[in-house]
Subunit: 207 residues, 2 copies
């Protein structure tokens, strides 16, 4: 099956995907870099950012898999606003990105990433991303709100939680604001590496 | 090393250990039984409740391990109040239980479980439990508040989270009210079974 809708997200044991007080100046919140330390030195992470070198191994394989399968990304406006500065002139997506927003805006082209702004809601954004992705899958890039919208709209086929066993104590919580009726998930893979447990879940009967 | 302080707790993917609106009449909240379904038919669970039969296998091995290592339990008054009715005349602890409370009360003996009420705080309760457990470990039985107190007082050596991939959407949250400074955890074992991922974490430098 192609055209799966998936999310890959790093979460603390207490359920946060950023540290407290995230902002444009501090996109992952206070101390949020502790969540993402596992990523920064990976070869596939560096490659996406136009850098050579980096570590290989199981963490890198997982990240590479996510980059490889993704043909388009859907993200929220907050993630876009907060991330744009740090992504620089060569954003690490290198594929069409659809940004959910309330404000009409012309597409923004940055190197091999085109950001298209969607004001018609998540269903429309996912539909456009699916078309753009062709044979590949669609990544729900985040933030938490967009992942929650995708879950609530039953659009998500798969979510991989990179569980980092630390307590952030505050920040943006991944799993809240969920509709009362949720499909069950099924764990389809666990990969334990140094400092991270990668838990992949299939969302039952997403469509 | 003997005399470890450990907690074994079942949590939903969104971080809840009960369903919404837990009470004496509904100790695990609305829909909370979905969290604990993996337990009810296990041989070791049934045995603790004085029943024969039940399933064996990796889930049962894990639960049996927790029962076997535990020589005493510390729990909160809310867990005691909510649980007492459902535990019946033969509570499943079968070891000394120390209940944290604000009200002085005589010990309560129920079959081979003695409940002793401690008004001097978690350190004292754990100290008494450790003495009572002799060569065995001490189980922090819950609820969430007592596990949080144990984390905040740096009393916990190990926590095993039985992660059930469902969304409760509400209830008692396990990891909140945590002190700002928390030791990191280290994942020391992952066991994936049907419907549960058992994640064991060692708490760094707990003492």
């Amino acid at each position: 099956m192609t055209g799966l809708i998936f999310a890959d997200v790093t979460m603390s044991l207490d359920g946060f995907i950023t540290g407290p007080n995230d902002s444009v100046d501090q996109p992952i919140g206070e101390g949020g870099e502790r969540l993402h330390e596992w990523l920064f030195e990976l070869a596939s992470f560096r490659r996406a950012h136009g850098l050579d070198g980096g570590h290989t191994g199981p963490d890198d394989d997982l990240l590479d898999e996510a980059f490889e399968r993704s043909g388009a990304t859907v993200m929220g406006r907050r993630m876009f606003d907060h991330g744009l500065g740090s992504w620089g002139d060569v954003p690490p997506f290198r594929e069409p990105v659809f940004v959910l927003t309330h404000k009409v805006r012309e597409p923004l082209v940055k190197s091999d990433t085109t950001f298209t702004f969607i004001t018609d809601g998540i269903e429309k954004a996912v539909e456009m991303a699916r078309t753009a992705a062709e044979e590949k899958d669609v990544s729900i890039g985040g933030g938490a709100s967009v992942i929650q919208q995708a879950l609530n709209a039953r659009l998500l086929d798969e979510i991989q939680v990179h569980l980092v066993p630390i307590f952030m104590g505050g920040g943006v919580r991944l799993f809240e604001n969920l509709a009362a009726e949720q499909p069950d998930l099924r764990c389809t893979r666990v990969v334990e590496t140094t400092g991270v447990v990668h838990l992949r879940f299939e969302v039952a009967a997403a469509r």
